[in-house]
Point group: C2
Chain length 150, copies 2
DNA sequence: AGTCAAAGTTCCCTAAGGGAACCCCAGTTG
DNA sequence: CAACTGGGGTTCCCTTAGGGAACTTTGACT
């Protein structure tokens, strides 16, 4: 499909899409996060084509989001989140929250999140890392940063 | 390409992908958020095919993320974020933060975010909406919710 | 009447996803 | 030791979606 290469763009969103923006990739990460770490498990859970799953897993490993590990002397592997991949789970939680809010309908959210610190069923909320106040679309100005185009 | 329909899945992440998971969609939202609201502006900024841009904009309007507005008696439109779309900006900020952290390299982030409340250059941080403590991958348990599959 | 610009639409070409069949490897079974 | 099994892919073909360029429409300006 001669897809445009987002990785070359001067934009952290585009670069992130270059890593996990292909179809299925976020769902694969979700599965690994949820404990489905083996090829067959993920394939069965998602119903994804084996060919595409192979491609996605390789891509995610190449980009350091997943690590491939042997768990047997037979050629058996499992995929685990690296630190880089673990930080992507924030993204999954924000996606899940938006879907819960806007797309879940009367049935309600398919999954609930219990926060260890307080033990409550809760949601993630974006806060300013500096002052702790809410930080949403209307709360920020965008300024050119050091990595902005020349 | 006979793409699998994520919208039917019992998963808020998959449903969210059904709305904004296609290639280019998050970048289109980024542009609209950043003030590029017209077809020609977005097309020129992204270098996206006009055909695909038309498809994506229609899709986002159909799903209530963008609204199409006339700004002239001539057939001129601009696209603006609805409330539903504005809440998706959280997702963009989290993507941007991850890209800033892991992909920006020595040049540093292309864009900085100044938080209105404190005036500082900052980042969004995921906190528990209930207790305010950090809420990341290792801080939560996943439980089946009311909308879980039967 | 002729020009202009925004916003699409149409057409062709190529590449990517779906699906099913096939393969390889190292244990396990008989 | 031959056959079987199950995880983890690879290969092949078919269809469809993205890229790119050309063309169209609409109302306003000159």
């Amino acid at each position: 499909m001669q897809r445009t290469n987002f990785g070359e763009m001067v934009c952290s969103i585009a670069r992130t899409l270059d890593v996990i923006g292909e179809p299925w990739s976020p769902l694969i990460l979700r599965d690994v996060w949820a404990g489905l770490t083996r090829f067959e498990q993920i394939q069965a859970d998602l119903g994804i084509s084996r060919k595409v799953l192979t491609e996605r897993l390789n891509h995610l490993v190449e980009h350091g989001v997943l690590e491939r590990r042997s768990y047997d002397r037979r050629p058996r592997h499992e995929y685990v989140l690296t630190e880089k991949g673990t930080e992507l789970v924030d993204l999954l939680m924000v996606m899940a929250r938006w879907g819960d809010t806007w797309l879940a309908g009367k049935a309600g959210p398919p999954v609930l999140y219990r926060h260890h610190a307080c033990g409550e069923i809760s949601k993630g909320d974006l806060r300013c890392a500096h002052c702790g106040e809410p930080m949403h679309a209307a709360d920020v100005d965008l300024l050119p940063g050091p990595g902005a185009a020349g």
